[in-house]
Each structure stands twice: as structure tokens, then as C-alpha cells.
């Protein structure tokens, strides 16, 4: 007879779902023993570096490699001409376009890769870069996306000039990439025709960059004897990289091993495939030794993966009493020189059509035009699910602008238009099925928590004082109620290069009752080694501390689509849960065999099976693991392993209510964030400590975007803001204090009800900050000022409104 510890004690020992488990990753990180890409040193390894274009748009007349090649220690100097015989001068992008690996005939953005040099160390490589002579003939640059399709606009992409049809349909102009629309235009037009009130505003979401603290890097190692390529790199989606590498290089997929080791933050920057990766592989194939490539920060900010650059003309139509009846939007999307956006194949504007937000809007129509400009390619989802930040920004700003026109409180207007709890699953006018939500409850909790009415009264008094000349400081209250769409996604509508966006978990339980689980995702700081083990602990009864988690090595991990778009918990987390259940099912058969009862006579109890009504007759998972290797029922396979490839039936729809209180000095334009309250509902909460950390980090990135970040270009196409001197990353001093809160509305279709949370704070945070700034001026004639809300820009806005002498 077993003597059992009390249930609560055994549950605590598991450290399962809901536990604030300390992170297992941290043991190595706090001791400087992380293993990042640049930490990898292979025997004979060389170092690669790029010669980059000083011009935004120019013809390459001549490249002289001689001086560089003559430098001792230089092993190779490669140009597009060297790649043409291999057909590698262009590579396919995730968006169905091609991107130059090394510039061919023309350069199309400043800092574009032109020549790759390979040398014995990074210093010699830098010297060699200086010695390569490239002669250019400047061409007129195209910087303003609004002029991209002008009749006389310079043609950027001569390589596809004659293609009248792109990956997403007809092209209207040589600089046009695609036109995409969704919704019912007729119904939307009709709603606008009969509406009492309409608003229309151009809302520009500026070009920004994810800028993880670790830049992109890789080490390529081609073993010519075995014909095997090993590629270590900063990859959020290592399996996809292997498939792409196989397709590009023509090496069979089983001969390629891609390893994503520890990654120093991703935020979308490390989803794509970049010329540096390709050239390292080429270099290693050509020279037969490993080649390392590591971006510096200027290269990172100016060449790999911008985000946003969406110019959204949004419109709302409503009745006099504030019932929204229609939404229309046209987006001009600046994709830079190549369409390298990271979106599921069928959605060139990602999930932008979540832009009806948290509101029951009966008619909607959205149209997006993508254009080429002389700017870096990219269009990644910077801490968001495929254009969801843009969508949330548009609807949340439009709601405030409509509230202003209706002379209604913005919280009240939201309240009147919420999708109600009983409407879930809710079918939106633009085609999504929202899984679950209780918006009024979340909003109620948020407004109470900050004493919203008290804040509005204080703001009214402040405004009166300002108008009476008693203060020069205005107060703004920013409300944002966002709904995300994450967890891409159902293979019926989501794929990358034709591969469905499932994810996977393999678990193997060892005889002594510990286990190893491998997944198709890849943490970049999210703490997967900690949280996946928690899910498996609850499902299998094996303590989390006894479950090792591995990701990122394509030789061992099952195929998965990687980590971005808050998909790890919704997709791979679901695979964990299901794989764990399969382990439990087999263990139940073994337990029945050992206890000599029918398996239906057993019930699960925290960490083992017991006979119903006879709890003292039980087998713990530890005992069952041992038995799996020696006493399985007749006819059953030995061992205790399970695999699950999870194709989600739907996305998940996390939501939240954020409130920002800002004080703005109109004479300096300085904004102080006095208070920021964030309520998140991400369904079932796996590790509250990690959730809170994710929310803090996401809010800080939202603060950076709304208040300071921009990758801007001057008229000649020179990138502005490509160093940390110019590009705003908040320090501990500028960063506001965060207050977090939650409600918990499980997803009905997810095995444990979890929805994902990592990106919510960025999606909901940006409009909260921007609404707070705009709200401060809403009763002084201001309607909308574009982000980023830097002090000079706010000061200029105040001046334009006649508030500053």
C-alpha cells in the first residue's frame, strides 16, 4: 500500500500549470553561460563581412576586388557575378517575391549588400571591406510611398518590370506589389451612406525596427566529404530555415542541420532569411571551412527587417448615439525594395483584417496596396502577430476620434459597441471567428482599478486651469481595448511556403520517471524550457523539474513552424498538452495491467492512477514509467513515448484593457507617463510570473514605439536613426512603472484554454500611449498627431494648435 502525500503537496511538487515557477534557463544566463551564436567557434572558422551601398538607388558600374584580395588574410571576395552561375544572386522571400542576395546591376536601398568578403578574422574582413572599390551611377531615389505609383516615378525593380501579375494578383504599376481586399464594399458603403456621423483620418504607423539586443548572426559549416551543411544561427523558425536552405542550395534536407542555440531576443527580427545567412553558406561551400557572419548594429537597424510602415486611411460610420455601423480602410503599405514580409502565404497584409477590433461592427471593407520604395526590405511582425499592431492602432485611434466627434467619452463609446459575452464564438464582418471573450467585465475592472471617473474629473480641472493660465501642463487619458488574433494557425488558411502552420511536441519518458520533450518552436527569451515543462507536468504527473525541454536543433526536434506571432503556447503548447495526454493514456493501460483491473476502473489523481473508490490502490507515474520498460500488457509496445503534431482549429483571440495617464508640458513637448494600467486576458495562465514579465517587456516596447522609435529616411534615401544614438531604446530612467492585472477567459478550442500573451502588451500598448497624447489635446482643437510622440513633435503640434507662442 502506498502512503500518499496530500493532493496539494503533490500538486505543488509538480510545478504544473498556474505555478510561478522560477525559470530553469536562468541558471546558465545569470552566470554568463548562455550559448549564443557569436559564442560558437569552429576549427578553421573564417569571418564574413559586407560591402554595402552608400546610395539608396544607383546603378553598379564596376566592382574592383583586387586591392581587397591582395590583403593578407583575405580568402574570398564575392559579388553577384560570382553567384549567377549558382543561380543564387536572388533568393525567394516568404512573400512570394525575390530578394537580391548581393546587388545585381543596381542597388535599391542604402546599406544594401553588394560584396561579401571572407577573411581570417573580423578585423581583416573589415579592412578588406574598405579596400573594395565600387563605382556607382546615382539614380533618382523613391522615398515617399505616396509617390510610388505616380506615372513618372522611377522604376525600382527592373528585374520584374515586365511582370504584370505578382504573387498576390495583378500589379497596377512597376512599383506596385499587390492589391488585396476583404469585406463587403457594398454593405460598407451603404452603412456609411445612411450613418448620422462619419469620421476619416490618415493614421500613419511609422517604420520601426525590432532591434533585439543580439543582432542577427550565423555560422555555416559545410562538410564536403559528407556533403552535410550545419548552420548555427539566430533563427526564430529553424525548421523553416532548413527547408529554405535546402530549396536554395539544392542540398537534400536530411543533409542540413540547422541549430538555433540561445537567442538574444527576436521580436520578429529573426524570422526572415537574410543575405548574410546565404553568403555564409556560399562561403563555406566555396572555401570548405566554416564561415561566421555577425551583423553590427548599424547593419541590423538599416538592412534586416523593419516593421510597420503602414499608412492607414480609416473611416468609421455611426449613429448619433454612438452605435458603429460601418468601417472602411485603405492601407498604403511601404514594403521597401523587396517584398520580404513575413506573413502566411495567403495574407499579404497579414491579419490586418482583425481591425474591427473588440466591437460589433456589422459592415466593413478593407483594401491594402503594397508598394516598393528605396528602403530596406522586411515588414516583420515586431512583437505582434502579422500586422495586428497596425490593425489595433487604427481601430483604437478611430474610436477615440469618433468619440471626440460625438462628444462622448471614449470609454463609453467602446462600452456601447463591445461584442457581448453571449455573442461568442463571434463572426466578424471581415471573416474571423473570435473564440471567446468577456469584454465588458475586463473593461469594468480596468475602469474601476484606475478610478476612471476621478481621472476624467481631474483632467477637466487641469484643462480649466490651463485655459485660465494657471498651468502649462495638460493631462491625457489613453484608453485602449484591444483584441488580438494569434496562434497561427489553422493549416486551412495558414502556411509558410506551402507548409501548414502546425506545431509539434515529442516526449520520451525514461525508465526512472524523468523525461525529455522536444518541440518545433524556439524560445528567444520567452522561457519555453520552463513553461512547456509545466504543461507536461500537469498532463503527465511528472514533476516539471524532471522534464528537460529542447528546441532549435532540426536534427532532434520535430518539425515545427517556430516562435513568432504568439504562437508557441497556442500551437506548440497545445501539442504539449496532447502529447502529455497520450503518455497518460498509455500509462493508464499499464496501470490497469499492473493493478489487474479494467482501465475504465481507474481514475487519474495528480501524479498517478488509482482504482475508483480505492485510492490506496494506485500506481504513480514514476512506477508506471519503470513498468513501461519491463511489464507492459501483452501485445503492447515497450517504452513510453508520444508525438503530437497540432493543427489548431482556429486562432486564439487574447484581449485586454489598458489605461495610460500622461502629463504633457506644452512648452517643451515632454510627456511624463504618470500611470499605466494593463489588464490582460490570455485565457488559462501557465506561469503568472512569466506572463507579468512578458507584459512588462511588451509595454516597454510599446512605449518606445509610440514615444520615440522611427527608422526615417531623408529625401535622398539616407537612413536616419540606424544607431542607438538615434534610434530610441528606453533606459530604466525613461521607462514608466507598469501595473498589471488580469481576467481569465479560456479559449474553448485550445486543449488547456491558453491563448498566448507575449505580444498583447505591444498591440494594446501603442494605441494607449498614442490615445493619451492625443486625448490631452482633444478639447483644444486637436484631432490626431502622428507617432512617434517625441518632445519636438508634440511641441510642434501644440504650436500648430496655437497653444505655444
Amino acid at each position: 500500500m502506498n502512503v500518499q502525500a496530500p493532493v496539494q503537496e503533490r500538486e505543488a511538487a509538480l510545478e504544473g500549470i498556474g505555478c510561478k515557477r522560477k525559470r530553469v534557463e536562468d541558471i546558465r544566463f545569470v552566470q554568463g553561460k548562455g550559448n549564443y551564436v557569436d559564442d560558437h567557434v569552429l576549427p578553421g572558422m573564417l569571418f564574413g563581412d559586407f560591402v554595402r551601398s552608400p546610395y539608396a538607388h544607383a546603378r553598379i558600374k564596376k566592382i574592383n576586388k583586387e586591392a581587397a584580395l591582395a590583403l593578407p588574410g583575405v580568402k574570398a571576395v564575392l559579388t553577384a557575378e560570382d553567384l549567377i552561375p549558382l543561380n543564387l544572386h536572388y533568393m525567394p522571400t516568404l512573400a512570394g517575391d525575390v530578394q537580391a542576395v548581393l546587388a545585381h546591376r543596381k542597388v535599391l536601398f542604402q546599406n544594401q549588400e553588394v560584396v561579401f568578403v571572407i577573411a581570417e578574422d573580423r578585423y581583416i574582413a573589415s579592412d578588406a571591406v574598405e579596400l573594395v572599390e565600387v563605382e556607382y551611377e546615382e539614380l533618382p531615389p523613391l522615398v515617399d510611398p505616396f509617390k510610388a505609383m505616380d506615372p513618372g516615378a522611377p522604376v525600382l525593380r527592373e528585374d520584374i518590370e515586365d511582370k504584370t501579375v505578382g504573387a498576390h494578383g495583378p500589379r497596377k504599376h512597376p512599383n506596385h506589389i499587390f492589391n488585396w481586399e476583404v469585406g463587403d464594399k457594398q454593405a460598407a458603403d451603404a452603412a456609411f451612406a445612411r450613418a448620422d456621423v462619419t469620421v476619416k483620418e490618415l493614421l500613419s504607423y511609422q517604420r520601426v525596427h525590432p532591434s533585439p539586443l543580439e543582432t542577427c548572426a550565423c555560422v555555416a559549416s559545410m562538410d564536403k566529404i559528407k556533403g552535410e551543411l550545419t548552420l548555427y544561427g539566430t533563427f526564430q523558425a529553424p525548421h523553416v530555415v532548413r527547408t529554405v536552405a535546402s530549396l536554395i542550395a539544392g542540398i537534400p534536407e536530411h543533409k542540413i542541420r540547422v541549430v538555433a542555440p540561445d537567442i538574444g531576443g527576436g521580436f520578429g527580427n529573426k524570422v526572415g532569411v537574410y543575405p548574410g545567412y546565404v553568403m555564409s553558406v556560399v562561403g563555406s561551400i566555396v572555401l570548405g571551412v566554416p564561415v561566421k557572419w555577425v551583423e553590427d548594429r548599424i547593419e541590423n537597424l538599416s538592412a534586416t527587417s523593419f516593421a510597420r510602415d503602414y499608412h492607414m486611411t480609416g473611416e468609421l460610420a455611426a449613429t448619433r448615439d454612438g452605435k458603429i455601423v460601418g468601417l472602411k480602410a485603405h492601407v498604403l503599405a511601404d514594403h521597401g525594395a523587396f517584398d520580404a514580409c513575413a506573413d502566411p502565404t495567403k495574407f499579404p497584409a497579414g491579419m490586418f483584417h482583425i481591425c474591427t477590433g473588440s466591437y460589433d461592427i456589422p459592415a466593413a471593407h478593407v483594401e491594402v496596396d503594397g508598394v516598393y520604395t528605396n528602403k530596406a526590405p522586411g515588414g516583420v511582425a515586431y512583437r505582434c502577430s502579422f500586422r495586428v499592431t497596425e490593425a489595433a492602432y487604427m481601430i483604437e485611434r478611430l474610436i477615440d476620434i469618433l468619440a471626440q466627434k460625438l462628444n462622448m467619452d471614449p470609454a463609453e463609446l467602446r462600452w456601447r459597441n463591445f461584442i457581448q459575452p453571449e455573442q461568442f464564438p463571434y463572426n466578424s464582418a471581415l471573416g474571423w471567428e473570435y473564440d471567446s471573450g468577456n469584454y465588458p467585465a475586463a473593461m469594468h475592472k480596468a475602469l474601476d482599478a484606475v478610478d476612471y471617473n476621478g481621472l476624467r474629473a481631474e483632467q477637466a480641472q487641469r484643462l480649466a486651469d490651463f485655459q485660465a493660465g494657471k498651468t502649462r501642463e495638460l493631462m491625457g487619458i489613453g484608453v485602449s481595448f484591444f483584441t488580438e488574433i494569434v496562434g497561427a494557425g489553422p493549416s486551412k488558411n495558414c502556411d509558410i511556403l506551402g507548409i501548414g502552420m502546425f506545431d509539434s511536441c515529442e516526449i520520451r519518458v525514461h525508465p526512472t520517471g524523468s523525461a525529455i520533450a522536444r518541440l518545433g518552436t524556439k524560445s528567444q527569451g520567452q522561457g519555453h524550457e520552463t513553461t512547456y515543462a509545466q504543461i507536461l507536468a500537469t498532463e503527465t504527473g511528472i514533476p516539471a523539474s524532471m522534464i528537460g525541454i529542447e528546441e532549435g536543433d532540426t536534427n532532434t526536434a520535430p518539425y515545427g513552424l517556430g516562435t513568432y506571432g504568439s504562437r508557441s503556447t497556442p500551437v506548440a503548447g497545445a501539442a504539449c498538452s496532447r502529447a502529455g495526454k497520450k503518455i497518460r493514456q498509455k500509462a493508464q493501460m499499464i496501470a490497469a495491467h499492473l493493478l489487474e483491473v479494467h482501465h475504465d476502473d481507474l481514475e487519474w489523481d495528480v501524479d498517478g492512477f488509482q482504482i475508483k473508490g480505492l485510492p490506496e490502490r494506485r500506481k504513480s507515474m514514476k512506477e508506471l514509467a519503470w513498468a513501461a520498460y519491463n511489464s507492459v500488457p501483452p501485445g503492447m509496445e515497450m517504452g513510453l513515448e508520444a508525438v503530437d503534431y497540432y493543427d489548431p482549429p482556429n486562432f486564439t483571440f487574447p484581449f485586454g484593457a489598458y489605461i495610460c495617464v500622461a502629463d504633457i508640458d506644452v512648452d517643451t513637448g515632454e510627456t511624463k507617463i504618470r500611470r499605466f494600467y494593463a489588464l490582460d486576458d490570455c485565457g488559462t495562465r501557465i506561469n503568472p510570473m512569466i506572463i507579468e514579465g512578458q507584459v512588462h517587456g511588451g509595454l516597454t516596447e510599446a512605449f518606445a514605439i509610440a514615444m520615440g522609435q522611427i527608422i526615417d529616411y531623408d529625401e535622398a534615401g539616407n537612413v536616419q536613426g540606424a544607431t542607438f544614438m538615434d534610434y530610441f531604446l528606453p533606459t530604466a530612467v525613461e521607462t514608466p512603472r507598469w501595473e498589471t492585472d488580469y481576467t481569465e477567459t479560456p479559449s474553448p478550442h485550445h486543449p488547456i484554454g491558453a491563448k498566448g500573451v507575449g505580444e498583447s502588451p505591444n498591440v494594446g500598448g501603442v494605441p494607449a500611449f498614442s490615445n493619451a497624447v492625443n486625448d490631452a489635446f482633444a478639447k483644444l482643437g486637436g484631432i490626431h498627431t502622428q507617432m512617434p510622440h517625441t518632445a519636438p513633435r508634440i511641441w510642434g503640434y501644440a504650436k500648430g494648435l496655437g497653444l505655444v507662442a
Binding site: 522560477k22 525559470r23 534557463e25 536562468d26 541558471i27 546558465r28 544566463f29 545569470v30 552566470q31 554568463g32 553561460k33 548562455g34 549564443y36 557569436d38 559564442d39 567557434v41 573580423r122 578585423y123 532591434s211 533585439p212 539586443l213 543580439e214 543582432t215 540561445d262 537567442i263 538574444g264 531576443g265 521580436f267 555577425v294 553590427d296 548594429r297 528567444q524 527569451g525 520567452q526 522561457g527 510570473m689 512569466i690 507579468e692 514579465g693 512578458q694 512588462h696 517587456g697 511588451g698 509595454l699 516597454t700 516596447e701 544607431t723 542607438f724 544614438m725 531604446l729 533606459t731 530604466a732 530612467v733 521607462t735 512603472r737 507598469w738
Partner: protein, 163 residues
């Protein structure tokens, strides 16, 4: 390129190497000594991922030449734990208070915090925020880093009082 012989003390151990005069301290530490804890985030002294302690001051080793460290006493993240492997209170604090996520800024952040607490054993939240303003973190939003440093300050004071 001409090389120069330098001698320095790193994490308590004597080191003598020939280095090119242009080699940066961060590259010397990472590539010659294989101390890969400190990282390179920007190469322009902004991010602080490369922070090490040199002669009792926090320095960003991406803009210090290795030859400038000739004769120096240097402490890196690898020198923070005790000889018996037990963690420094700052290392404990960062883990306990969830003061890190991707871990890339962490070594520089901890080494910087160490010097901050040497200079100010009982810093307020404001003083901590100002004290780590040279170290960027993209993941945590700093709130838990502040808590982690307070955690360490409290334990180090208790320990000091006990000694």
C-alpha cells in the same frame, strides 16, 4: 600587424597575452580568453551588454582597447559566483525576481549592478534606475531588474551585518 604583450588579472587569475594594438577588450575577453559571458550589442557604447568591471569601475569593453587593460584588474560575469559555485546575491536576485528573459543583457547588467552596489549599498529605486541607465534591456522593461538589485542589496547588507 604589430603585437604588444599585455598582463592583466581577470577574475582573480593572471593573464599574459600578445595582442594587436587595435583589438577591443571585448574581443580579447570573448575570443582570446573564451569568456563569452559579456556580449556585443552595439559596438558604440550605448547598450552595455559588454560591461565588465575594470579597476573598480564599470566599463563598456566594446570601446576599450585590450592594450588599455594592460595591468588592469578585471571582473566579468564569470567571476561573480563564489569559488564553491554558490551564486552571488545579484545572480540569485535576477533569477528570483525574474529580472531577465533572453539573457543577452544579463551579464553586463549584473556586473554593472555589482559596481553600483559597491558604490551605493542601499540604493533607492530612482538611484538604481539611474545607476543602470547605461545598460539596455529589450525584454524586461526593467521593473523586475530593479527588484532584483534591491533583493541583492538587502541580502548583501544582512550578510555584511552578520560578518
Amino acid at each position: 600587424m604589430a603585437k604588444k604583450l599585455i598582463s592583466l588579472t581577470v577574475n582573480g587569475g593572471k593573464v599574459q597575452r600578445e595582442v594587436e594594438s587595435r583589438v577591443l577588450l571585448i574581443h580579447f575577453l570573448r575570443e582570446d580568453l573564451m569568456l563569452t559571458g559579456a556580449h556585443i550589442g552595439c559596438e558604440t557604447t550605448h547598450c552595455g551588454a559588454c560591461t565588465v568591471d575594470m579597476n573598480g569601475k564599470s566599463v563598456k569593453s566594446c570601446t576599450v582597447l585590450a592594450v588599455q587593460a594592460d595591468g588592469a584588474q578585471i571582473r566579468t560575469i564569470e567571476g561573480m559566483a563564489q569559488a564553491d559555485g554558490s551564486l552571488h546575491p545579484l545572480q540569485e536576485g535576477f533569477r528570483t525576481e525574474h529580472g531577465l528573459q533572453c539573457g543577452f543583457c544579463t551579464p553586463g547588467m549584473i556586473v554593472r549592478s555589482y559596481r553600483l552596489l559597491q558604490e551605493n549599498p542601499n540604493p533607492s529605486e530612482e538611484e538604481i534606475r539611474m545607476g543602470i541607465a547605461g545598460n539596455l534591456c529589450r525584454c524586461t522593461g526593467y521593473q523586475n531588474i530593479v527588484k532584483a538589485i534591491r533583493y541583492a542589496a538587502e541580502r548583501m547588507q544582512v550578510k555584511e551585518a552578520a560578518e
